[in-house]
Amino acid sequence: MNDGIFTVMFYLAAIIAVTAAWGVIYCKNLVHSALFLALCFIAVAGLYALLNADFLAAVQIMVYAGTVVILIVLGIMMTRRVSMDRSNVMEKSSILGAAVVSLLLLVCLLLIFLNVSFVDSAVNDIQDTVGALAQLLLTHYVLAFEIAAVLLLSAMIGAIVLAKGADEK
């Protein structure tokens, strides 16, 4: 891929992602937040595509932008609020603390990252990511794969019991 296009695409996606992320937090309306979140995810998916992770980009959109956001919206519906305005305000009192903590973390991370010198020349250039991923998943990481299946089962059962229990009340 052309370096220039890569750069432009990166900045585009990055700016969208960061802005959307900020929007998630800034919006006072929960629905708006959710929509911003979806936008952010899509931007990140774009980044994935940029990074030769096309399968992941697809998964991202499917799982996150689709499933996750839908789940969230579903959740909003089920909480049955009359108006979504001001459903999602920031707690004023904790802004300062939260900002300090977050900034501290950011500063620390940046301090570390800016001191790493990367050799960016070599680029992992696998074309058939899906096949390669499948290969890896079913050989090297097969156990993790299986466990992930159990994990999903467990989460499912847990979620069902919890939600059903709540419903039956």
Partner: protein, 633 residues
Amino acid sequence: MEQFALTHAWLIPLVPAAAFAIIGLFLQNFHKLSAAIAILAITFGFVMSLGIAGAVFNLGITVDAPFVQRIEWIKIAGLQFDMGVIIDPLSVLMLLVVTLVSLLVQIYSVGYMKGDKGFGRFFSYMSLFSASMLGLNISINFVQMYVFWELVGLCSYLLIGFYYYRIPAREAAKKAFITTRIGDFGLLIGILLLQMLFGTVDFIQLRQVIPVYLMANGAGVLTIIGILLFMGPIGKSGQFPLHVWLPDAMEGPAPVSALIHAATMVVAGVYLVARAYFLFASLPILMNIIAWIGAFTAFFGASIAFSQHAIKRILAYSTISQLGYMMLALGVGSLTASMFHLMTHAFFKSLLFLCAGAVMHAVNEEADIFKMGGLRRKMPVVFVTMTIGVLAISGLPPFSGFFSKDAILAAAAHVSMPLYLIGIVTAFMTAFYMARLLFLVFFGESRQKEVHKVSRFMQLPLIVLAALAVVSGLGGYVYNFGDWVRFGPPVVEHMDWLLASTSTLLSLLAFVLAWNIYGSKRWSSDIIAKKLGIIYTITFNKYYIDEFYALLCRIFIDGIGKIMYFIDLYIIDGTVNAVSALVLLFSKLLSKFQTGQVQRYAAVFVCGVVILLLCTIMYLDKVNGVLAAGGAF
């Protein structure tokens, strides 16, 4: 018989001890049986003592070559104590005096204590006392002596507090114990130092090593040890300034006063000094101290006895005074005179106490001599015996006190004129206050309507003792007491007739004076008291020494104790409690921090991450200088 007695001398204390155990454990409520056992036990002791005395005479056992038996009591690495028996004229004298007086007093007690609830208890204590005192007499070393020394102290405590339901009695008992304990404190240190210095406390061995030590090292350390040792006798024998317990001790029954606080226990101090005379006699400074303390105590005691009202208190101060005499004698180097006086004093003073007991018994436990009077017709036996006692103590010939006191005065006169003068003045005072007592109690008009009869059990000992008070002095003089009981070469008593007649004259003068004041009431005692004014007040109040001690006690015992307790509660414990409070406070802070607000938890979590990252950065900075090299921000 004599041989048996000699080799079985250890039975003498043991049999009364057994009697104590039997009575104390099983027979407390069988009054007659317990009295019989106690008396039998002490009679056995007396008979044995007689046997031993015979053996001593016949076998020629002298103070230089005592008969010693010993048995190992403790043996550990670097330390060995024996218990044993030392038989020489000195201890035989004590054995005889103690067993005899003890026997008589116990017989007297059968009558005196009749009807008392604690009859059995009394005889068990008496047996224990006899056992301890006899054990003390035959001690072969300082530790054994200390053991029995403390035991007689215990008996004294128990018997002073015999009427434990009376507050003065129990207070007196406590006072006696603690006061003597202060003396024992010095004694114990002295013994410990002796043990440390010589590795032994055995009298026989010490006697050999001490002169050698003195030659080599001089008297310095030994004098200190001697002073410490002498603290014991000061306490026990009621010497100034630890005499305060003895008058109070009269709260005990009269037989107790007679036996313990007149005849036997209080002379234990004298006996100790006599027993360890080889040590004391070789330390001139110490001898001076002993003599002066003795002389001062003699005078001091007499001066208080002058103004007291309670009959037994007068006798008690008299005892203090007489003990001072004995110490004086020891201090001026005459062991013989001291022991001689010890013996005669034992007889006449116990006689006096028993008489006083009989008198008080007769007049419903009234103690104030000014409230008595005219008893000579109502209790003639007591009157006669008491008169003999008074004459004996006043040193009128031919009664026993004359000989023994004179020996002391003679010895004092040899050494130091001031001491002699104090002695002679004291003799005058003694005669005066004893006469005062006699006249007030037995002469004048009768103030007591009802007078109890004196039982036969009580009369018999009085008579025996009176006889002894008459003859013991003369006997000792005639049979040359100093041949046997002596330190160094045999002493041949030469009566110094000048001194003797001086003191006799003074005593007579005192009698006349006393008769004029108290007998015929020619001169009013009240006016004299007023005229003497402050002196009278001071002596009447015993020089305020008790009050002074009480003040010291309040300041230095209770006061410091309270301060210490305060420190303990609020400083030491306070620190501990403060620490625990601090921990609790910290705990509270931590709980407060746990608000239940989950986002705060998350924030803290992130802070933790930040801390870890900071550690990382610091570490990286250290290993490859991130901040220095990059300085990116």
